[in-house]
């Protein structure tokens, strides 16, 4: 899985790596443009290899079950983390479940 920016390029077959470098979409995956600028909890982040919400959570080392995610004010249902693509400039808010009193 191309989850974290640091391991981009690793774990791919050479065909996939070549396709990636040429910007050719890999079947079953959305094309990644490499670096993407996002605003996450108000902070500008430049991230590599982020395609979906799931990738972002993975690269931030957050467990999907423990957070709620908003992209441009829209709450993303958990079962759509893997299919929701992020785009340059998206504003993402991630809040943790906090239940104590």
């Amino acid at each position: 899985m191309n989850g974290c920016g640091a391991c981009l390029g690793r774990g791919r077959s050479s065909a996939e790596a070549a396709a990636f470098l040429l910007g050719v979409p890999i079947p079953g995956r959305r094309p990644s443009t490499g670096t993407m600028k996002l605003k996450v909890n108000g902070e500008s982040l430049e991230l590599n290899g982020i395609v979906t919400v799931r990738d972002l959570l993975h690269s931030l080392k957050l467990q999907p079950g423990r957070v709620a995610v908003e992209v441009n004010l829209e709450v993303i249902p958990k079962d759509r983390y893997e299919t929701t693509a992020l785009h340059e400039g998206d504003e993402v808010e991630i809040v943790s479940f906090v239940g104590g009193g």
Binding site: S96, F97, G101
Partner: protein, 267 residues
């Protein structure tokens, strides 16, 4: 209602505020707030709401006072260890302000009793310590149309908002379902900085007074998060989710759910 001489003195700093005034103070004295929990959040919230002259404070808490509570639950004293929290809360609040009628409910909040309790109160202050109760309170408030002044804490982090049915989102618009059992530790398991619920509980008290007086801009549709270590507040805009399973356009949750207590929730 006519104020006594003593009341005019007690509430004078409210009465001289144009936004409150004699009318507002009368309204507060006639108001009924239901506190869910007399713990870390409920303690500071109840203390200030009593001081402010909220006429009726219902307090739901099933627990007895434990020594480990006293690091943050300021309604209770060392001598109260082992007593029901609602009893020590009542004593502390009435000693502070005899104008306030404190109604103790030493019971588990369930789908069987919550709507009845809500019917007798104007606003809910959720300071509970577990997810099953938070979802129950949220769902019941949406069904009953009561404002829910929500606060929660964990380690060094707090969250606070106002869920006002019909005017903004509900808890499920943000978190549609409870976290999987065991995934999110409780304060008992993970700890909480003792002063932190003071900050969050008092923001809840402020919002409760504003909701009752209908003044200012309550935290409706805004989740305020507080990071005690970085000493930062952040505000997250919340929108009502049309697909919300509870308050959305095609709700799938139409009755109250008693989720199972899935992690140890201590005193």
């Amino acid at each position: 209602m006519r104020f006594t001489e003593e009341q005019i003195r007690r509430y004078s700093r409210h009465i001289i505020l144009p936004e409150v005034g004699g009318k507002g103070q009368e309204r507060l004295l006639a108001s009924r707030a239901l506190l869910i929990g007399a713990g870390g959040l409920g303690s500071p919230a109840a203390y200030y709401l009593a001081a402010a002259g909220i006429g009726t404070l219902g307090i739901v808490d099933f627990d007895d006072v434990d020594l480990s509570n006293l690091q943050r639950q300021i309604l209770h004293r060392t001598d109260d260890v082992g007593r029901p929290k609602v009893e020590s809360a009542r004593e502390a609040l009435q000693a502070l302000n005899p104008d306030v009628r404190v109604i103790p409910y030493k019971e588990q909040l369930t789908s069987a009793n919550i709507l009845e309790l809500l019917a007798e109160h104007d606003v809910v202050v959720d300071g509970s310590d577990n997810f099953p109760t938070r979802y129950l309170v949220n769902d019941a408030c949406v069904i009953a149309g009561k404002p829910n002044v929500y606060g929660s804490v964990f380690r060094f982090e707090g969250q606070v908002t106002v869920f006002q049915p019909g005017q903004g989102p509900c808890y499920r618009c943000l978190y549609p379902e409870p976290p999987p059992p065991g995934l999110v530790p409780s304060c008992q398991e993970a700890g909480v900085l003792g002063v932190l619920p003071g900050v969050i509980g008092l923001v809840q008290a402020i919002e409760t007074v504003k909701v009752l007086l209908k003044i200012g801009e309550p935290l409706i549709g805004r989740l305020l998060t507080f990071d005690a270590l970085g000493l930062r507040f952040r505000e997250l805009k919340l929108r009502r989710d049309p697909a919300c399973p509870l308050c959305g356009e095609a709700p799938t949750i139409t009755q109250l759910i008693d989720y199972e207590e899935f992690c140890a929730v201590g005193p």
